[in-house]
Subunit: 210 residues, 2 copies
């Protein structure tokens, strides 16, 4: 949604307020960067696993953690998510850039009561299909987990794709220019050294590297 | 440096205040997440290219950008950098985790006068060896670039590595457990469609995918 805060003033053609675009950027990201203002008025930001539940972005942590107690319901937050998709090598130093997809959300954190459901969403975010294979949380674990949601309402996306853009006269230079794409690639799964014998790699884990 | 703000209260054995550890995490990261408090007291965070210059972390942007004007010298900032190294799949939903290396710095942004040198540092950060091949910034470009530094002084690192840690009784379960490592891998360079004919891929770009 376009508001004075989310309105993109720099290179606005890279911006988007489209909910589907923002959702896609959030869904592909494991980590979000959650910023808030401390009680003494100073900035703070932490990385944390994110998962989307419809029009809410979920974050969670230990109920005992200092951060989760700071990030209590009612506090204002800004959450940023970024994928770095490539290095953009121009002919001029000045026009070097990166290809990226980022989303920035603003809002107020609200408590989530159904912690069990949130843990299912987080587990499935980490590895789709994992939930049915794991030992589900018990009462003590649910009590030890705090979950908060940020409504995905006031936010924007910003995306750069494609080749470098140089000044007209620089296209005559003999400098190589182009893009080096970057991709996050899952590697061969490493079984827990304490894994019981005879447990094969399950399909939902194999699928990550397929 | 350990201060009341950087002191790690959760899982402190994962923490470090070692400058070399923090430098290594910063040096491997292209992107940092810069948080500050807006004039009306609200949190804001943006992703931006970072580069280290000795004991300073450098950020830059267009002198005309709203963000860079907000992030002016003298403002307090918190910068966070995170590498996600792997998915940690435990037998219990509760003990699922990620392997990661993160650094969080606090401090006050200060102006950098030598913009040309900073642009060299940023260019070399993006692609080592690139600077000698590109058209260097002219006066107009230097004027259009704002550079700020955050002293790397008040900060901490947090690192998780290795296998999942489950509750004792869960090791008897038949659930596969282990780690799926994640790695950022540069892909084959894509030449600018407008690249002059006869310009081969240079060694400094080829080295990225070697």
């Amino acid at each position: 949604m376009k508001t004075p805060r989310t309105k993109l003033s720099r290179v606005p053609q890279r911006g988007s307020y489209d909910q589907a675009t923002i959702h896609a950027i959030l869904d592909e990201a494991l980590i979000g960067h959650v910023a808030w203002v401390t009680p003494d008025g100073r900035p703070a930001v932490i990385p944390t696993l994110i998962a989307r539940d419809g029009d809410d972005l979920l974050i969670h942590g230990s109920s005992a953690s200092r951060t989760l107690r700071a990030l209590k319901a009612g506090i204002e937050a800004c959450v940023e998510v970024t994928h770095v998709d490539g290095l953009v090598l121009a002919r001029s130093a000045f026009h070097h850039s990166m290809n990226y997809r980022s989303a920035i959300l603003y809002g107020t954190l609200e408590p989530v009561e159904d912690v069990a459901r949130a843990l299912e969403i987080f587990t499935e975010k980490l590895v789709p299909g994992r939930w049915e294979h794991v030992r589900w949380p018990n009462r003590k674990e649910l009590k030890a987990t705090a979950v908060l949601r940020l409504p995905i309402a006031e936010g924007s996306a910003k995306i750069r794709t494609g080749a470098p853009v140089d000044d007209d006269e620089d296209y005559a230079l003999d400098t190589w220019a182009g893009v080096v794409p970057l991709r996050i690639e899952p590697q061969a799964p490493a079984p827990d050294p304490l894994l019981k014998e005879g447990i094969d790699l399950p399909e939902h884990v194999r699928a990550l590297t397929a």
